[in-house]
């Protein structure tokens, strides 16, 4: 009897131990390249490129952690620039002697007051660009393109396949910030101690008419959307923690001002905001209403810079920083997604996978027409 009992115990234990080995850290997929180090050159570089018939330039710095893209055409002329170092927000001069800031504005010289046209672009995790724009080109890369993808057709009143839309959370379970509270930060790192950020923490910087608002990722991780306003321009900051993408949309559409909320849906692992007036669902990365009364309407995008807090403090010495006084009790010192921003897991399935880069490498995607091109921080 005693022996039989021992056998039962051993059998039970062995089942338990065998089962416990199923733990995964989310790194099942072998990726061809590691996540790049955040260090690099503090030099600001300018890259000229031609994509989809548009002559554009991308200005960036790997250590300063920013990339922005502008059309080189100004008043029918193709402009030539040289980068300027250690003078942020000034990043370049043109061959006529004007200096230009990171927002694409000439601040002196013969072109003073002129504004370059931003190219539709924003930073996001590499995998998300591969999912939305299969086979997209990477600037200055010799890596073989694994697939060109196939066209994706909408179904069931959606401009995207409805059965590819997944539920990440219930509607409004992730609360947007609709009455944002700001603290004015006038000099480097002097602000509300409750809102102090490490130099390396990522933020979004929005500039409207010279007024700068800064939105830390550590707050956006919990809310994803901030409905804000500067100088009567109503806009929504939309951030997806799963794709690492930040976009800023004008909230006034055809004369009607709305607010955006988190629908809880995900498409290609990317947030699907909904506007609360029409109830329409939007795809952040497609920048398009994909379902509802506004289906087919494109978002009106506002220029956005994603960078780290140290660089944001150099770009602007007088900005309004979103505070944790959001009206919600959240643990803003902690990322609710844990190590997700740096591990190789992709939580929700995507249409296309592209392993040329680490899935979480942050790249600038430039979108022209229906095509996109990726620019890596390591190119700067």
């Amino acid at each position: 009897m005693k022996k039989r009992f021992q056998i039962w115990i051993l059998a039970f234990l062995s089942i338990g131990l065998a089962c416990s080995s199923s733990d995964t850290d989310g790194d099942l997929n072998v990726t061809p390249t590691p996540l790049p180090e955040s260090s690099g050159s503090a030099q600001i570089k300018i890259v000229y490129d031609n994509f989809q018939g548009t002559s554009l330039m991308v200005i960036g710095s790997s250590r300063l952690d920013f990339m922005v893209a502008f059309d080189r055409q100004l008043g029918g002329n193709e402009m030539n620039f040289s980068s300027v170092q250690d003078s942020l927000p000034i990043v370049m001069t043109d061959d006529q002697g004007s200096q230009w800031n990171i927002f694409g504005l000439a601040i002196d010289g013969p072109n003073e007051g002129k504004q370059l046209t931003p190219v539709n672009s924003f930073i996001g995790y590499w995998f998300s660009w591969g999912a939305f724009y299969p086979g997209l080109e990477i600037y200055n890369s010799s890596l073989a393109i694994p697939n060109q993808g196939e066209s994706v057709q909408g179904t069931d009143d959606w401009l995207i396949p409805r059965d590819k839309v997944q539920v990440g959370a219930p509607k409004e379970a992730i609360p947007s910030i609709d009455s944002p509270d700001f603290v004015r930060v006038r000099t480097t790192k002097v602000g509300d101690p409750d809102n102090f950020l490490d130099d390396s923490e990522l933020v979004i910087l929005v500039n409207i008419n010279g007024v700068h608002h800064v939105y830390p990722h550590n707050i956006l991780n919990w809310h994803e959307i901030v409905n804000d306003e500067i100088d009567n321009t109503q806009f929504a900051v939309v951030f997806c923690p799963l794709t690492g993408t930040s976009t800023v949309w004008n909230r006034t559409i055809d004369g009607v001002t709305s607010t955006y909320g988190v629908s809880g849906f995900l498409y290609n692992s990317n947030v699907v905001p909904y506007d609360r007036v029409s109830g329409s669902n939007w795809s952040q990365m497609l920048q398009l209403s994909v379902n509802g009364a506004l289906k087919g309407i494109k978002s009106e995008n506002i220029f956005v810079i994603e960078t780290n807090y140290a660089t944001a403090n150099i770009i602007s010495n007088d900005f309004q920083q979103l505070t944790t006084n959001t009206g919600f009790s959240r643990d803003y010192g902690r990322n609710p997604y844990g190590s997700y921003p740096t591990n190789s897991s992709i939580t929700f399935s995507v249409n296309f996978e592209d392993n040329r880069l680490h899935p979480k490498e942050r790249v600038l995607g430039v979108i022209i027409g229906s095509k996109a091109k990726a620019y890596r921080l390591s190119s700067f």
Binding site: I15, L17, C19, T24, K164, E172, D178, T347, F348, S349
Partner: protein, 325 residues
Amino acid sequence: MLIVLIPLFILGGQLKLSGQACCTGGAPISTNLGVQSFQANQLVLDVSYDYNSLRDLYAASKNLHDSRRTRTIKTLFLRGSYGIDKNWSISVILPYLWQEQVIRSDFGRINQNTEGIGDLVILAQRTLINNHKNQLLIAAGPKLPTGSISQKDDEFGILLAPDLQPGTGSWDGIGALSYSRFGLFTPTTNIYGLLTYRYSFEQDRNDGQQKYRFGNELALNLGISYSFQVKTWSINPSLHYRYRSSQSDENDGFDFPNTGGDWMYLVPGIRINSPKGVIIHSSFEIPLHTDVTGTQLVTSQKWNIGITYPINLKKDKAFRIKYGK
């Protein structure tokens, strides 16, 4: 015997095993297995109702005190157990669930409801030791994917999240080990321990486009019960500690955010045994400690009430033959 079992329970508690986090896809089976001894040729029917109210939003072990989001899971369990002989018995457990999720925001109240038959569990149970001092039982069996995993959002027809579905969609394995020590301090005082484990397999969702796997789950119950008589009725109050540990779910092979964690509860309960063998039982869970992965709604209040009705088939058969009924 205790020398063997205590390390087993400690080891079990340390294993980072699995389970469903804030809310289960399917019924809370692991805490409702009802592993106990059955007499030979005895059929025991049990009907119980489980009410689980999740109103506390936690980030790791911190209560966020956010009342915007709640969930209620009500489950009716039908359980039939049959004693094949003095050592072997078999149990079948069928749950029926009603789930309601509510989000209250400045833009209105959003409800999501699902209901349906959950996953059927079949357990074979073996009595290893049964004497006046000790009882040791072991049980194992499959959980069948009988519950629906295809319920959709009313407004858009989008497949609801796995944890809101009545079933998990997977064949799972369940094991349990139960030990009781009788008459430890007084003749009617017993201590007991129950270790349960559920191993989950992967399921296909969205017509095979998505592979989802609920985390494995381990639950450990350690308690004490006492028995006293009130006229011809036997009353058994009990108090036990419950530890539940759950792995994160996996979606397409990767950990799914905001699932998995560790929970501890204090569970007072009572069993009232009538002279005719009918038992009324009830328990109430008081959360002691919560440490979840990410941010999750957790149980704020949970109670269970049920009635057990034993039928001695051999006796009834003899009765029918003798009296021709």
